[in-house]
């Protein structure tokens, strides 16, 4: 192998290494599938309230002029427990309104879950069969959407808001909106 051909392997490898370096640098989670909803209006939804006799929730609840979070959770979901403390902190210390949606959950069990750990949600809806979750492109719980005051989705957080993901990922996004 003479001439230019002998440089081809090393050139290919250098190219690949550069790609790897770039992909590692942006701190993404490879399991995370990008949401197609970013910068688009939140999908249309109407859900019954989780509380017995409460008023249901719908898109109108997202257009309050103030940024808010929509959090899909379930009593059977272990990571949801892990992020619960942070949700309480967001709701009661930072004063962020959070709309909770109990995803594929038994109403009684979801209520029990909130009684046990505390209720961070301003309003809570019940998505018993997961249809609303499908419209929102939820791949699993927990997932959290950041909605601006006009009902436009600005950010989707995949997985629990646990550890330093709150300060490093969610808070900067929220500050960007205010």
């Amino acid at each position: 192998m003479t001439g230019f051909a002998r440089y081809i392997p090393i050139l290919v490898v250098v190219g690949l290494l550069l790609v790897f370096l770039k992909m590692m640098g942006d701190g993404r989670n490879p399991k995370e599938i990008k949401s197609v909803l970013i910068d688009k209006p939140a999908p249309v939804f109407v859900l019954p309230a989780l509380e017995e006799g409460g008023a249901g929730i719908s898109n109108a609840d997202l257009q309050t002029g103030k940024p808010m979070l929509v959090n899909f959770f379930a009593s059977w979901c272990v990571p949801c427990r892990a992020e619960h403390e942070n949700l309480m902190k967001l709701a009661y210390e930072k004063g962020i309104p959070i709309i909770g949606i109990a995803y594929k959950n038994d109403a009684a069990k979801a209520r029990e879950f909130l009684d046990e750990l505390g209720n961070p949600y301003a309003k809570t809806g019940l998505d018993r069969d997961g249809r609303t979750g499908i419209d929102w492109g939820v791949t699993g719980v927990p997932e959290t959407f950041l909605i601006d005051g006009e009902g436009i989705v600005r950010y989707r957080h995949w997985g629990p808001i646990a550890g330093d993901t709150l300060e490093q990922r969610l808070v900067p996004k929220m500050e960007g909106l205010q």
Binding site: P9, F20, M24, G27, P30, K31
Partner: protein, 661 residues
């Protein structure tokens, strides 16, 4: 105390491997043979120290010493002993320990073969091997230390991922690692040859047994992994073209190509720079696999805990090892000019074709695996490359390979004639074509590919047998078969076994893909479902308790025309630490195919969701892999592989005449 001993042994091993990296090179520069000879004891010392560290970690697992972070995070007192031990390599830190254990083991093995290799060359090889060890030891000590302690000792550990608690998976990683790391020796041989600036036929003979051993382990490791996926994941699949599966498949293809190209170097002193390149690439694929699993760059079911610091370290190491060796290659390749020339129709050409097809396949798998990543880096869009892409590539590239494979072993070296193998192979060609048409005829419409797959498999099987017949003269003089069979080199027998194994694998894949029957339904006790003529009756479902799980176990009676054939007992397990569901399929292999049953959720009212399959000839996959492994072992046992071992006079005289794949 024991973990500290292990920690200390790791650091001592690092010091010794730094010595192993530097001393031989200084010695060679000075031409000091006594100093060069130090490379051997250093290699033994490295292995001893790493073995002590590995032993210390294993001991901590066996006694469940939860003061060690790694043990607390991955083990549990209620685990059976086998899984306590296999838990050692069921996590990032421990698997690296296994990696360096095998790396230093291979270096020690090179040193042990001692006199087979010239001192100067051996010293070079061991210094490259030591350099690899330095890299991995630094990685372990600085980013992935398994001996870190906890101040606050937990009462109980977190347990091992239940999917990994399985005998198949206990041995799958060690096998694969033996293969991956076995290629490190091949790599070291190639780099040493580049530094020395010369590749000789003798070099090819030295490197061959190592390539062969690595290839055998890779074959066995991949087969074990697919067997595990088949019965543990519970939907009857055995290969998913997952990035990490691809990462093990690429070195296997490269090692396969290398096995064949090194024969050309050995026999004909040609293809030298190509063979060196393949040796580097094969090990690079192994390193790439490690990187992809641990850096979090790709999604995979195999991903360990993702940590960018580790990713950056491995990337730097990758750049140094692969980039460095390929730069060396670009610099030295012009020196490796071939002396042997060969005609267009010759054994060499057949082997070149083999190499082109195998390495193209490896390149296609590489592109398919990395394309989503590159696309995302370029324009941010996310896509996945699915099985159809890889399957198409496999069919397009492997079909001509199998056709050529029938001819290759019958062609003469240097300048052959196509007429000789054609005469011999006419029966194989006819049988292959007849089977092809028979399959198409019998189940007309849309299954040309199935007919082709089966036709190719049969063609290959018959060709292998005709080739053995040609070699031993069986049809001309059957009585002399055993006498003549003994004089055929073992390497040739190994080749025949391995090629036959490939044919069985192709047959298994094709037949099971084409005629699998699947039934999904809700059953209650006493219900019967018919799958491919077999009646599956659900006779009972009862709860059972394992050492660290609870499960429901179903009992199926399978009958055919009223005669009992088998009893299947699939389980649906729920592990407690960590909480997780796994399915254990109930499988009964029969000669014609596997009966396969999976029990799922209780749907209420006494109904259970079950999945029942009949998978014809799927055992061919593992049977074929077994043939390949046996073929490899037979070839490895060939006397001539043991270069330097005393060889009989008769053999030495015959050497130049022997024709060998």
């Amino acid at each position: 105390m024991i973990p500290e001993l292990g920690h200390f042994a790791l650091i001592a091993a690092l010091v010794l491997s730094l010595m192993g990296m530097i001393v031989p090179n200084v010695a060679i520069r000075r031409g000091d043979t006594r100093m060069m000879a130090l490379a051997d004891p250093i290699a033994f010392g490295q292995f001893l120290l790493v073995a002590i560290a590995f032993g210390a970690l294993t001991y901590s697992y066996i006694i469940s010493d939860f003061s060690v972070v790694n043990v607390a995070a991955n083990s549990h007192t209620a685990k059976p002993l086998l899984y306590k031990i296999s838990g050692v390599w069921g996590n990032h830190e421990g698997s690296l320990m296994l990696w360096i254990l095998i790396l230093s083991l291979f270096a020690a093995a090179v040193a042990l073969r001692g006199s087979a290799l010239p001192l100067r060359f051996r010293a070079r090889v061991l210094s490259v091997q030591s350099m690899l060890l330095v890299g991995f030891l630094l990685f372990i000590i600085f980013t992935s230390n398994p001996f870190l302690r906890l101040d606050d000792v937990p009462f109980e550990g977190n347990g091992l991922n239940p999917l990994l608690q399985d005998p198949g998976l206990a041995f799958h990683p060690p096998m694969l690692y033996l293969g991956y790391v076995g290629l490190s020796v091949v790599f070291s041989f190639a780099v040493a040859a580049l530094i020395e600036g010369e590749v000789t036929p003798l070099w090819a003979r030295w490197v061959r047994p190592w390539t062969l051993a690595a290839w055998i382990f890779l074959t066995a490791g991949i087969a074990l992994g697919s067997w595990w996926a088949y019965y543990e994941l519970g939907w009857g699949g055995w290969w998913f073209w997952d990035p990490v599966e691809n990462a093990s498949f690429m070195p296997w293809l490269a090692a396969g190509a290398l096995l064949h190209s090194s024969i050309v170097v050995e026999k004909r002193d040609a293809l030298k720079s190509w063979t060196i390149l393949l040796a580097i690439v094969a090990f690079s694929f192994s390193l790439l696999g490690t990187f992809l699993v641990r850096s979090g760059v790709l999604t995979s079911v195999h991903a360990f805990a993702v940590d960018p610091a580790r990713g950056v370290f491995i990337l730097a190491f990758l750049a140094l090892v692969i980039g460095g060796s390929l730069t060396l290659f670009a610099w030295r390749a012009p020196r490796l000019s071939p002396s042997g020339l060969f005609g267009l129709v010759s054994r060499e050409s057949a082997l070149v074709l083999n190499n082109i097809l195998l390495s193209t396949f490896a390149a296609v798998v590489l592109v398919g695996t990395l394309y989503p990543l590159i696309l995302e880096a370029v324009n941010g869009s996310q896509i996945t490359v699915g099985p159809p892409f890889f399957e198409y590539a496999a069919i397009v590239l492997m079909s001509p390979l199998v056709v050529a494979l029938g001819f290759g072993p019958l062609l003469a070296w240097k300048r052959g004639r196509i007429s000789k193998p054609l005469q011999i192979l006419v029966p194989a060609l006819i049988v292959g074509l007849v089977v092809f048409w028979a399959v198409i005829w019998k189940s007309a419409g849309g299954i040309v590919m199935t007919g082709m797959g089966i036709g190719l498999a049969i063609w290959l099987m018959v060709s292998v047998m005709l080739e053995i017949n040609d070699r031993t003269g069986f049809s001309k003089k059957p009585s002399a078969f055993f006498k003549r069979a003994r004089s055929v080199p073992r390497a040739s027998w190994g080749m025949s076994f391995a090629h036959f194994g490939l044919a069985i694998v192709i047959l298994g894949v094709t037949v099971s893909e084409a005629w699998t029957e699947e039934v999904l339904r809700l059953m209650k006790l006493g219900d019967t479902a018919r799958v491919a003529g077999y009646d599956f009756t659900l006779e009972g479902v009862k709860p059972i308790a394992g050492p660290n799980y609870t499960a429901v176990r179903a009992a199926f009676l399978v009958t055919k025309r009223g005669h009992p054939v088998a009893r299947l007992a699939p389980e649906d397990r729920v592990y407690s630490d960590p909480p997780m569901n796994t399915t254990e399929a109930g499988i009964q292999p029969l000669f014609v195919g596997d009966l396969y049953a999976v029990i799922g959720e209780n749907a209420g009212e006494g109904l259970w969701s079950v999945r029942l399959y009949f998978k014809p000839f799927i055992s061919g996959l593992w049977l074929g892999a077994g043939f390949m492994v046996i073929g490899g072992l037979i070839s490895l046992s060939d006397r001539r592989q043991r270069v330097g071992a005393p060889s009989g006079r008769r053999r030495r005289r015959k050497l130049p005449l022997q024709l060998e794949p």
